[in-house]
Assembly symmetry: C2
Homo-oligomer: 216 residues x 2
């Protein structure tokens, strides 16, 4: 591992609360170790032994809790996508579509910043999942996207926003949150909440600009 990677992972958030409550302590340690291994050398070059070693467990321990290395990736990815869906679904209602959209974006962005290492694995290793597991994740992603698209549609109906292509616009807004997992560092200038607040303002600007883009 390079000095740069070690420094990056040293700043990673371990967050046992990332994982579903149904997992025991040992399984959570394996998931956290899996995040660190996949984030530093990629899914394909990581062995189950790398994961058990990083979790300070015997090589056979992994198979007590997971069917395979791919199953570890699936549970990391499923947990991450479930947490994101919970975060956007639990966003407080608002009377004003702009206020609601800003809250959604701020929470989505702050979550990705706070959990950027686990989120990076969840976003960049999707192609290593089996077709069945990928379908589960794709379903969770569609539900998250649907919350944002409904927020935009509501704003259009309320005439708070102009007429826009919600699908195309939401994809761009979500890019702000997803792409930060590539470069965000917890010791950088913006805290997760500060970045969330800034990107929430940018998202409103994108809604206004998309309206004029559609009109041309």
């Amino acid at each position: 591992m390079s000095v740069r990677q070690s420094a990056l992972l040293a700043l990673a958030d371990d967050s046992p609360d990332l994982w579903d409550a149904g997992f025991g302590e040992v399984a959570k340690r394996l998931l956290t170790a899996g995040v660190r291994c996949f984030a530093s050398t990629g899914f394909h070059a990581t062995t189950t032994r790398d994961i058990t070693k990083a979790a300070a467990l015997s090589p056979a321990a992994l198979y007590v809790h997971f069917a395979s290395k791919e199953d570890v990736l699936f549970e990391i990815t499923r947990s991450g996508h479930r947490r994101v869906l919970e975060v956007v679904r639990s966003t407080e209602d608002a009377d004003d579509p702009s206020v609601y959209l800003k809250a959604l974006v701020a929470r989505f962005v702050a979550w990705h910043a706070r959990h950027h290492v686990a989120a990076r694995v969840s976003q960049y290793e999707l192609s290593a999942l089996t077709a069945e597991h990928y379908e589960v994740i794709a379903g969770l992603r569609q539900q998250t996207t649907a919350v944002f698209e409904a927020a935009i549609q509501w704003g259009v109906e309320q005439r708070a926003f102009g007429v826009v292509d919600a699908h195309r616009l939401v994809r761009a807004i979500l890019s702000l949150g997803v792409d930060l997992v590539r470069w965000y560092r917890l010791d950088g200038a913006d805290s997760p909440d500060q970045l969330g607040g800034f990107y929430a303002e940018l998202a409103l600007g994108m809604v206004a600009a998309a309206t004029s883009a559609e009109a041309t």
Copy 2:
């Protein structure tokens, strides 16, 4: 390789013009094969033999042209980052800062859409580079970022844009172009130029919104 990955790579742009003119035909074939291998299984799990096989060459052929597997990744990444810098630097001057910024964003986004597979390798495998090679790429990235930051600063000086933190804003605008390499498909709804035009409008909206975010 999964059916999904095969379908994705079948749509990849081979683009021999991605590579620096100094490379001969065989070296270009190896670089193109490297992109496909790294994109499908990641840098760490790819062997030099995988690359020569994908290029239909003998296993030893790689070392005639490159020092190592890491050197193949470096040349892919350097070529990609050089092309991006050329694309933004050759953007036509304009009298209006908004027109100029839109042209910059449109060209940056369209390039990443057109070359999304090579761009994905260039963006997501940076941590596998040696420290020396990483420095070279970081320098190219800084030069590209500087073009965008100068465009924003010029707009602020001309009072076409309000007062904004150019560094923070440019990072968000570049996320639109970079993140699309994760999901863009050449057979999707938007051509590279259409997506570039749409994101150029969104970027102007982000500039306007960043002004109000700074003011609060």
